[in-house]
């Protein structure tokens, strides 16, 4: 199971990086979403993966063997929620930048750095 998820995380990162290098705002954000999901999978795996073993400690015991650690799942939840918020902002910004700057090519956005235009 860990191996499958590791391969999946690697696939997400490579696909995400490919999209991000296109230099356009929207594919950049899609790529970023993929990579942040890969990071979430990494945290998820950090707490062990177990089948059918709820992390409930029986009465009188201090800890249990063979159950997944529940804390990383809480951490992933936090990371997902934060990621949603950031993604919504970034999508709005991408839309707004197309609206105001008239381009989706990040290399063509020189408004903040005048004098860096490539003369072709």
């Amino acid at each position: 199971m860990e191996i499958m998820l590791a391969v999946l995380a690697g696939f997400l990162v490579s696909a995400g990086a490919y999209l991000m290098m296109s230099g356009k705002t929207l594919p950049y954000l899609f790529g970023l979403t993929m990579i942040s999901n890969a990071a979430n999978i990494i945290i998820f795996c950090a707490g062990r993966l177990t089948f059918g073993a709820p992390p409930l400690i029986p009465e009188g015991e201090k800890y249990i063997e063979g159950a997944a650690n529940a804390l990383p799942q809480a951490l992933v939840l936090t990371a997902i929620v934060i990621g949603f918020g950031l993604l919504v902002f970034a999508l709005t910004l991408a839309y707004r930048s197309w609206f105001v700057l008239g381009t989706v090519e990040m290399d063509d956005m020189h408004e903040s750095e005048p004098g860096t235009e490539v003369i072709s």
Binding site: L32, A39, C45, A46, L93, R96, L101, M109, E111, S112
Partner: protein, 494 residues
């Protein structure tokens, strides 16, 4: 309980200013009161930490390492104090700088949300919690950056948001790996658990992720391109807040995590940090020399200064770390003063482009002198505050026998002086293109008060350098040997 105030007060103020949305006057009053309350709580924490050593508070009464811990040692406490000082100065300045429209779109609530994030990031003793505070800070800074909606702001924000989101993902991935191998996210507990596991590949991988994240936030070479693209685009108040405090969080996190959690001495990351710092200094000062508008030059000098701080930390001897910390503290005040004076100058001359400004010396000589002091401090002219950390850094590198690093420090200082002289001659010294009569505007009280107070603080630090050297040497001792910090969080070792 005291340790939660620097987070609670700004959040509370943010909510109150939101409620007072319809009345800019009430919003301003609340905002300034919130800043003063923050400053007061920071002073209380600072004096407590100075007298009694590091203190910790456990959220909800859950003992470390299970709950979230807030810790203040001398480094955190001083950073929080600086947040209070800069917040008060910047919010006062914003009264005549930020437009009504920007206030209407939530300048005050966003600024206080940013301050809450800063306070939390400086005080937390838990690395996942630090991630959360970074996000609070990040989302507030996104809002502040685009609040006017100008094309240059949007273009700058695309770069700022793009790189910072990657850094965020790296941060969370690093924390995930760290938890997977160590089973804890409390930084003091991590210190004990990771003790003796320096060469472990998972530990090194997580350290590399975190180094990438903090280096991007701090604008270290080669991850600094977002800074000069975005920091000059929002209002001057926001620029000042960002350059004084937000990049410094990255530096603080590097200092904290790479001394408390990881032991980088002798690892592969040590030379990366060292040479990254030297290249950051070089790119910062040369970038500054190539620009022709005030805030663009200042933006690059931030990068140069960050390089110096990291260099001190990377060299690693007691004196060098103290030099890095000293540089960090005084640079907060210097950068705030410089960006605010850039705002005041632009209001006088009508532009911040070199070609479209000038004549300040002839028409407003007193203002020019106030502006000169932080500028000379940035360049490292004695006896101002920027001189002492540079002196300490040169001495520390020479003690280690590294002539090259000493030379790099001195050269950076020299080019910094050159960059400042360029700004001075273009904006202050030379005649205004429309003739000196072009300067008719005067500066009001909310502009003068923060400028003069910050300048006086810069002089005060410079003249009382002995006390501040002692303070930073104490902090360097705490960074190198965190026993007192660990005891404050985890109790006496059994």
């Amino acid at each position: 309980m005291l340790l939660f105030w620097p987070v609670v007060i700004p959040f509370f103020t943010a909510v109150l200013t939101l409620l007072a949305w319809r009345s800019p006057e009430i919003q301003r009053g609340l905002s300034l009161m919130g800043a003063f309350a923050l400053l007061a709580s920071a002073l209380a924490i600072f004096s407590h930490t100075l007298n009694y050593g590091p203190v910790a508070a456990q959220a909800g009464g859950w003992d470390a390492p299970f709950g979230i811990t807030m810790v203040a040692d001398a480094l955190s406490a001083t950073m929080v104090l600086l947040v209070g000082v800069v917040a008060t100065a910047v919010i006062l300045f914003s009264f005549s700088d930020v437009t009504r429209e920007e206030e209407h779109f939530g300048y005050h609530p966003l600024t206080h949300a940013l301050l809450a994030g800063l306070g939390g990031a400086f005080l937390t003793g838990d690395i996942f919690n630090m991630y959360v505070w970074f996000e609070v800070m990040l989302i507030a800074s996104f809002g502040l950056l685009v609040i006017g909606g100008q094309p240059n702001q949007i273009a700058g924000a695309i770069k700022y948001v793009g790189l910072n989101l990657i850094a965020t993902v790296a941060f969370i991935a690093g924390v995930g790996l760290l938890y997977g191998t160590a089973g804890t996210v409390n930084m003091s507990d991590l210190h004990n658990v990771l003790n003796g596991r320096e060469g472990d590949s998972v530990v090194t991988a997580s350290a590399a992720f975190l180094l990438f994240a903090f280096a991007s936030k701090a604008a270290l070479f080669p991850l600094f391109f977002w800074l000069p693209a975005s920091y000059h685009t929002p209002s001057f108040s926001t620029s000042a807040m960002f350059s004084a405090l937000v990049t410094k969080v990255g530096v603080y996190a590097l200092f904290r995590v790479f001394s408390l959690v990881y032991d980088i001495e002798g690892s592969i990351l040590e030379p990366i940090l060292l040479w990254g710092a030297v290249l950051t200094m070089a790119f910062g000062v040369f970038g500054a020399l190539s620009q022709s508008s005030v805030r663009r030059v200042l933006g690059y000098t931030i990068i140069g200064s960050i390089g110096m701080m990291i260099l001190g930390f990377a060299v690693g001897s007691r004196l060098a770390v103290a030099a890095g910390v000293f540089y960090l503290f005084q640079d907060v005040l210097v950068k705030a003063a410089l960006f605010l004076s850039a705002g005041a100058t632009a209001r006088l001359t009508g532009s911040e482009l070199f070609a479209r400004s000038g004549g300040v010396w002839r028409s407003r000589p007193f203002f020019a002198v106030v502006l000169l002091i932080p500028a000379l401090s940035l360049a490292g002219v004695p006896p101002l505050s920027g001189f002492w950390p540079k002196l300490m850094l040169v001495q520390a590198t020479l003690e280690q026998g590294s002539w090259f690093l000493a030379f790099a420090t001195l050269a950076t200082g020299f080019f910094m002086l050159f960059a400042v002289a360029r700004v001075w001659s273009a904006v202050i010294w030379s005649a205004h293109p429309d003739g000196d009569r072009a300067i008719t505007r005067t500066l009001d009280g909310p502009t003068w008060a923060p400028l003069v107070s910050l300048t006086l603080l810069v002089i005060f630090i410079g003249l009382n350098a002995g006390n501040f050297v002692d303070l930073t040497l104490t902090i360097a001792d705490q960074i190198i040997d965190p026993t007192a910090y660990l005891t404050a969080v985890l109790g006496e070792p059994k």
